[in-house]
Symmetry: C2
């Protein structure tokens, strides 16, 4: 398996990216290789690839898309950037999965321009993971790719999340919950009311009804469906709780899993390839865990499972 | 000052309501009286009002609006319910403030049907309070009265929250932040983008721009503006964090303030009177704190300040 890592993505690149890559390679089985994408001179000055028996390769990319650049403009104009080259490799099937903690918008644009959305998918989504009291994780989507959506898009998020939960997270018959401001069917906005009715008619997912903000961390639903605005607010609020606990020197195994570093990254679901987006502030630990997650995603072949589900 | 309390509102009424009222009366100055609204036989069997030197009165209401009843239907049909009678007293200025942990929808409907919205206010809002790292509270609105709003409504929420922060919470020149999925001006939905521009042109509030889910508990903004859907999710997520900490026996002064009981209730802003809505699961402590908050609200005369602000 060949995992491509944007060596220049994130606020602390390339140092933490290289550190994370080295930690990961030591934990990964022999057959996995890492492809670090970035300016080769720079990367070669930081890492001696010969130490890793050919399992770490450097792929030259002379340009970098900055964290604050306009996604569409930057992606189309910087075809020699590490993100653009990562997507080119993925599209050409020279790597099995591509991950980056760089410009999220450019990662999304890159996916849509190169490997493209799966036919039948209205809007691909960014998924993330929330720790749960029972020890495992739930999946929440969308968390930022689509601030505004239509009811049928929410239902597809439920389908995509359900496929991911089943095939990657190995949750049997995952429970799909619609984030709302009350449990009752008639609660919420026109969007959630309509989505509720569409979910009821949908036989692809195990819809359990509306859930609320208090249900993010319990196991009422395995798949939490919301628009990218709400999902983004939920996720960032959860992250801030971890920071607040840490500042107070409160440590607890459950809350430790609120740390974004332990998750590593967020898959883009509904595109023709395996993509993971990392947090902009990624540390070496986060990069390492993003690489582990990339491996899991590539092994599951989830994007072909999704493609097949929408072929029928 | 005369504070009316719906003795029948909430999941554990009337017992915790009476217990909370007794605790409150012992802490409140002599000039404050409490008016408990509910079936007089029932209430008299639970409390001996003569013990309180006339400071606790029972006002008979033979009917009760259940927690699950349809708000508009229940309020119009049950004119002898504790909620309807509370509003009648408030409208007749026989009490200075009315609070209830009962059916939130019926409380909102009651406000709109009796004391009505302040002229110039498009949509009254329910405000709530979030504890902050610096030791005080921020105000967040709307948290559930309006799941769907237009940009000008969000701007009014900012104005209402600002007036409350200044006159009740005594925050000078309160900073108003717009909840969004990124800090940059162009981020978000059509709603938040338009609201951002309207806020920029607004000279009534100290608009500091977009804030994110990670800023709920810091002091970036004193007033957090969002639609009722997002505000409700934020609030319920915060409450669940408190429960999770408690289950793990983690106690910390900062997180103690995540407990809804310490806040007690949420004012309705933008109506012609002082109204506080409590949590359905209110304990005696929550009821007591709701009464204290009711006093603070009535003292501030915030509704007349709001009325005056929109008269000009």
């Amino acid at each position: 398996m060949r995992i491509a890592l944007d060596a220049m993505g994130g606020d602390f690149a390339p140092d933490v990216n290289i550190e994370g890559a080295i930690s990961a390679i030591n934990e990964l089985p022999e057959e996995v290789s890492l492809h670090l994408i970035g300016p080769s001179d720079l990367l070669q000055s930081r890492i001696n690839t010969s130490e890793f028996g050919g399992r770490i390769k450097i792929i030259h990319a002379e340009d970098v898309i900055g964290m604050g650049e306009h996604p569409t403009k930057a992606f189309s104009q910087k075809q020699k950037s590490s993100i653009a080259i990562g997507y080119a490799l993925l599209k050409a099937k020279e790597v099995d999965v591509f991950c980056s903690a760089g410009n999220t918008g450019a990662m999304l644009v890159g996916a849509m321009f190169t490997i493209r959305a799966v036919e039948g998918i209205i809007r691909p989504a960014i998924a993330s993971f929330v720790p749960r009291e029972n020890g495992d994780y739930g999946i929440i989507l969308d968390v930022g790719a689509n601030a505004e959506v239509k009811p049928d898009v929410l239902v597809q998020f439920g389908e995509l999340g359900s496929l991911y939960a089943r095939h990657v997270m190995k949750i049997e018959n995952p429970k799909v919950g619609l984030m709302n401001l009350g449990e009752e069917e008639q609660k919420g906005t026109l969007l959630t009311q309509a989505a509720y009715q569409l979910f009821r008619l949908n036989n692809k997912v195990n819809f359990i009804g509306n859930i609320e903000g208090k249900d993010v961390f319990n196991d009422k639903a395995d798949v939490i469906v919301c628009d990218g605005f709400v999902g983004n607010v939920i996720l960032k609020q959860a992250e801030s709780i971890y920071d607040l606990l840490k500042e107070r020197n409160i440590s607890d195994p459950f809350f430790e899993r609120f740390n974004y570093e332990s998750v590593g990254g967020s898959p883009i679901l509904g595109v023709n390839g395996n993509i993971i987006i990392g947090h902009g502030v990624s540390s070496a630990l986060a990069i390492k865990n993003m690489i582990h997650q990339a491996k899991k995603m590539a092994e599951s072949e989830i994007h072909t499972i999704i493609k097949k589900a929408y072929d029928e």
